[in-house]
């Protein structure tokens, strides 16, 4: 099993463009697909898109990111790609509901981002786990679950 111990750079960098383009034509660019949560890992064992089992063991001062180039050889390359992340979008009814929702999500250590007046929660396990916890706020109408395009779900 091959162990990758450093990040060589980013696959989008101009200096790697020609080499990666050439390898891509030969189907020789292999990909490690990670969830957003797994980007925080520095040491993991994983199967690539091509089915190879590889290991990553980075020093503590390096972090994985979308497009991280783990290997670039004459005949092959290995690139990190991050899976699209799912978010639950929640609209609080008013300021009081927003405070409750913010407190609730913080208390559960959920990863969130703000979009205008809505709160978006990153789905790191299964969506129903989050919705079950939010059931009370949703049922009393303090919070509305919105679809990706902002409409009530």
């Amino acid at each position: 099993m091959e162990i990758y111990t450093s990040i060589l750079g980013t696959a989008d960098a101009p200096e790697h463009h020609d080499a990666l383009h050439h390898l891509a034509h030969k189907h020789a660019v292999d990909v490690v697909r990670l969830s957003r949560a797994d980007l925080a890992r520095r040491r993991l064992r994983i199967r690539t898109d091509a089915g190879r089992e590889v290991a990553i063991a980075l020093p503590r001062d390096q972090k994985l990111f979308e497009g991280a180039l783990l290997a670039l050889k004459e005949d092959s390359a290995l690139v990190v790609r991050v899976e699209t992340e799912r978010w639950i979008r929640l609209a609080p009814r008013d300021a009081a509901a927003a405070l409750r929702l913010g407190y609730f999500c913080g208390n559960l250590h959920w990863r969130v981002r703000f979009e205008e007046n809505d709160l978006c929660v990153a789905v790191e396990t299964e969506e129903h786990v989050y919705l079950e916890r939010l059931e009370g706020l949703l049922e009393e109408g303090a919070v509305t679950l919105l679809s990706d395009n902002g409409e009530a779900g």
Binding site: I3, A40, R43, L44, R45, L108, V129
Partner: protein, 202 residues
């Protein structure tokens, strides 16, 4: 590597049971223990004769134990750095969290991989509670399988339910004390394979 879980679930006992297996496999280990306001767990390991006492360091959290493994793991990082400097041949540093609730998780700035230890004596509904510790750990260990009949828990059922809620992530049942242990080799194999990248003979 992190080892978390509620008070009394058997984290220290599991470490005591794993140390001889690591020794047999030539895996050099050291331990950082976390306690609220004492060095109880460190003293227990140091006195146990299983490991060089100098390879055991205590961190006193002084607050909720998760704060020093997740929010600000500086004290534990410093303790691990210190062990690594004093024992350069180490393969593995076990960082045992103080007993905490089901929401406790480890920062990946502190550990590369972590297990969460619960036990059947806490009730058969623990996996169903889906705390972050249970859902997000790399390996869930359900300890004290031997006492299951005495606390009216169906061991097979709690294991099966835990596997369901974790959607395929590993769960190992364990008995780490007594003449007949269970699951220890599987736990050591998981650590060797997934964390140390060693070949494990099937």
């Amino acid at each position: 590597m992190g080892i978390g879980g509620p008070v009394g679930s058997g984290k220290t006992a599991l470490i005591e049971a794993l140390i001889p297996i690591f020794h047999e496999r030539g895996i050099e280990v050291a331990v950082v223990t976390n306690d609220l306001v004492t060095k109880e767990d460190a003293r227990r390991l140091q006195a146990g004769g299983l490991i060089d006492p100098l390879r055991v360091v205590a961190v006193e959290a002084g607050a909720c134990p998760h704060t020093v493994i997740r929010e600000d793991p500086t004290l534990n990082i410093a303790a691990a750095d210190d062990l690594e400097a004093r024992f350069p041949d180490l393969d593995l540093i076990l960082i045992e969290s103080g007993g905490d609730n089901l929401a406790s998780t480890f920062s990946l700035d502190l550990v590369d991989w972590w297990m969460f230890v619960i036990d059947v004596g806490q009730g058969d509904d623990i996996p169903r509670k889906r705390g972050p510790g249970i859902m997000l750990c790399d390996l869930l260990v359900i300890n004290k399988l031997d006492i299951a009949p005495h606390v009216f828990v169906d061991a097979a059922s709690i294991l099966s339910e835990a596997r369901d809620v974790r959607a395929g992530k590993p769960v190992i049942g364990c008995r780490c004390k007594g003449a007949q242990t269970v699951g220890l080799t599987d736990i050591a194999d998981a650590i060797a394979r997934d964390l140390l990248f060693r070949q494990v003979v099937a």
